[in-house]
Amino acid sequence: MPKRYNIVVAGVGGQGLLTLGRVLGNAAIEAGIDVSIAETHGLSQRGGSLIVQIRLGEGESPMIPRGAADLLIGLEALETARQIIYANKETRIVMNKFIWPPPLEIYPDLDQIIEKIKGRKLRLYVIDANKISEEIVGSIISANMAILGYSYAVDPGLQERLEYKHLVKGLERVFRGKVLELNKKVLATAYDLGRKQVEK
């Protein structure tokens, strides 16, 4: 049975989740792998909870069952915690070190979230994707590419299916010019960081 590789991207509408999905999708096409990406648009994109479901490998159902994610990428901590239901014991979780509380709400803090995820003996990786983006681009707009580069470095499942050059090609299909160059740099910087993390 050709198992599909399931990636859940969680975050807040406006954080560039759809773009991250498109880059990964294009990378899969470059690698000659079938892929489907399920998105939601419209009102749900306006600062609300958002997930994008990416499935690598053959098959038509675009939706990932709860518990069946191989990789969970969280661009924001509360949303990562919220979507933990997609994870199982083997899932790799890559979380941006960024908490963005919804206006006028009380919320758990970052340390608690990290502690609780670790308490479940899950493979959690925390990265400050906003900072990497800000240092290179001057704003957090490319945090999505930072977390992608890092996730790729720490996730053998993804490496098995895609080569790094496919990611770069995927990027080239989405961006152009100066923006492309900056995003490539973000991707590479975060990737190196991830490699170092794994080697440790």
Binding site: G25, I29, V35, Q45, R46, G59, G67, I99, P102, L104
Partner: protein, 624 residues
């Protein structure tokens, strides 16, 4: 993306005319057509509403020009009038009505199953199982439409429309297409007086019968693994879930699976053949039992009586996914419905993770307007105003801290509902409507207020675009779908012409606007019909324009020594860029998120919010 696949399929099928009113999840169909319109030599428009869009595209098709009209499921309600008639009159060239349904209500007020419209109007419904399928089936749908001279409803759903998948292109877009039509005066068809209508109905019923009888073959109906005793009949995307669930169970070989891509009217021959061998049958479809109902009819007509299940095992509300379909099949098999994945239990965090519904963006002009109107109402001693609402980003005003939408039913509804309310209650009533929605369906309601001496205020939030669906232009933008400059139709001129005393405000100037709106409230109290137009660009678009033009927007910050922690900025505005860090007593502004609208600075009673970084000298240009 599924929507792009539909657009491409339609182009290959040789359409030369496409129209739509944007609505999630249908928007990108005509958006992608618009982006290639010139190159492809076709005509594309954003119409003021779905009914108008339908009329325009249908007119092309009766004049021998292939056409497409697209809308979201609730948009079909708006176009239902002409839809019903088009089933009677038929077409002369291929005509597809794309209905993008939204099971699960990701971005809609309901989840109606538009396959019923096919039943109701006797217009066949074609429904794909994936974006790839959509690409192929659109072309088949055009063939079907021309073969029977009948419009076709092409039903997509969110998970088809907004799923991306690689699609291998089969054909080129034809270089030669028919873009000039001819109108034939076959008044018997186009003039549906009773005598003609009766005749057309016979034609239509004939087509209906013929399709039911003759189209039971791929790509419309495909039977996998014929001859098994256990059968699953799966319609549209449900087929994709079924195929994967059976594979996961290792049961693909045990079942005959009937893939249905023409659910209305369901061709019965392959169903009869399959059911003759079957003992146990499960029907898997999203939302209503449209296929199930027809299969039961076929069973009765053919004296077949297998053990049949459908909506007793498959949920009737919400969208289907692999989990639910897996469970349904397991139940059907009489097994424990446990999935092969063990989902992680939610984390036990204290406090719990707060819900995160969509909110107005940082810098959103609606935030300013709502603040201004509420303060002005207070100032004018207009107590407890009732706000009726409409469809758009501003619907989010229903939440704290504003509560400026107390109803929201359908496009344009705010104005009609306000009028009715104002006739029966004493409080001031304010109808809140967006610019695009005003053009779409707000004008008739506005005329009605004047004509019937209503006393509700019309408040139009003009942010230059149809913002929620992705910034499509409209009659107030001054651009067409194909990017051409065009006439602008100013909203205040319409309102003035209708008879409203109209106030135009710039919500970035908070104090001045409060005074103007308070003045409007005074006039309203005197019994004058008043309307307010609040005009400032959508923040997302302003930020985008600033980036493209190299304009730097200002960024605000909170001086921690001046801030008293009164939380006025937090509690009155709800700007997502202003947060209170865990354990802190004073708010901070996340400068990466601040769009520099300056509202918080104008609201802080202690002048603690100041510019952190100045914008470029011309920063204001990005906003207007």
């Amino acid at each position: 993306m599924g929507n792009e696949a539909i657009a491409r399929g339609a182009l290959e099928a040789g359409i030369c005319f496409a129209s739509a009113y944007p609505g999630t999840p249908s928007t990108e169909i005509v958006e992608s057509l618009a982006s290639v319109a010139k190159e492809a030599g076709i005509y594309v428009e954003w119409s003021t509403n779905e009914k108008v869009a339908f009329e325009a595209a249908y007119a092309a098709a009766i004049s021998y020009v292939r056409s497409l009209v697209a809308m979201k499921h609730v948009g079909v309600n708006v176009a239902a009038d002409i839809l019903m008639s088009s089933g009677y009159a038929g077409t002369n060239a291929g005509f597809i009505i794309v209905s993008a349904d939204d099971p699960g209500q990701h971005s809609s007020q309901n989840e109606q199953d538009n396959r019923w419209y096919g039943m109701l109007s006797h217009i066949p419904v074609v429904e794909p199982s994936s974006p790839r399928d959509a690409y192929k089936l659109v072309k088949e749908a055009y063939r079907l439409s021309e073969k029977y001279k009948q419009p076709i409803i092409f039903r997509s759903t969110t998970r088809i429309s907004h799923t991306r998948q690689p699609v291998l292109l089969e054909e080129d877009v034809p270089a030669e297409k028919k873009c000039r039509g001819k109108f034939e005066r076959t008044i018997e068809r186009w003039v549906l007086v009773p005598a003609h209508g009766r005749k057309q109905k016979r034609r239509m019923m004939n087509v209906w019968k013929q399709i039911r009888e003759e189209e039971g073959h791929p790509p419309f109906i495909t039977v996998f693994n014929p001859g098994r005793r256990k059968v699953i009949i799966a319609d549209g995307i449900a087929y994709a879930h079924v195929a994967e669930a059976l594979e996961l169970m290792g049961k693909t070989n045990e079942y005959t699976v009937v893939k249905v891509n023409l659910p209305v009217p369901l061709p019965y021959k392959p169903i009869v053949e399959t059911l003759q061998d079957a003992k146990h049958v499960l029907i898997v479809e999203e939302l209503d039992p449209v296929v199930e109902m027809q299969v039961k009819q076929v069973m009765y007509e053919n004296g077949l009586a297998p053990d049949l299940h459908g909506k007793d095992f498959v949920p009737e509300n919400g969208e289907l996914d692999l989990d639910t379909v897996y469970r349904s099949i397991a139940l059907f098999e009489g097994r424990e419905p446990v999935a092969p994945w063990e989902p992680m239990k939610p984390l036990d965090l204290t406090p719990k993770i707060p819900p995160r519904p969509p909110v107005m963006c940082p810098g959103c002009p609606h935030r300013n307007t709502f603040y201004i109107v509420k303060v002005a109402a207070n100032k004018a001693r207009s107590k407890n105003p009732i706000f009726t609402g409409d469809i758009g980003c501003y619907t989010l005003g229903y939440q704290k801290p504003f509560y400026t939408q107390m109803t929201s039913f359908e496009m344009g509804g705010s104005i009609g509902v306000a009028h009715g309310l104002s006739k029966v209650v004493d409080e001031p009533v304010i109808a809140v409507i967006g610019d695009s929605t005003f053009y779409h369906a707000g004008i008739p309601g506005s005329i009605n207020i004047i004509y019937n001496k209503g006393k509700s205020i019309v408040l139009v939030l003009d942010n230059f675009y149809t913002a929620m669906t992705g910034h499509q232009p409209h009659p107030g933008t001054g651009k067409t779908a194909m990017g051409e400059e065009t006439y602008r139709v100013p909203i205040e001129k319409i309102l003035e012409t209708i008879g409203f005393e109209t106030y135009v405000i710039n919500p970035m100037n908070v104090k001045e606007s409060i005074n103007k709106v308070a003045e409007a409230f005074e006039k309203y109290k005197e019994g004058k019909p008043v309307a307010i137009v609040s005009r400032m660009k959508c923040a997302l678009q302003a930020i985008r324009d600033a980036r493209h033009k190299g304009i730097k927007l200002p960024v605000y910050t909170i001086l921690q020594d001046k801030c008293t922690g009164c939380m006025v900025c937090v509690n009155l505005l709800g700007c997502p860029a202003i947060i209170v860090p865990k354990g802190a007593k004073k708010p901070v502004i996340l400068s990466e998120l601040c769009a520099g609208c300056g509202l918080c600075a104008q609201v802080c009673p202690f002048n603690a919010i100041v510019l952190k970084e100045k914008g470029s000298p011309n920063w204001i240009e990005a906003w207007f």
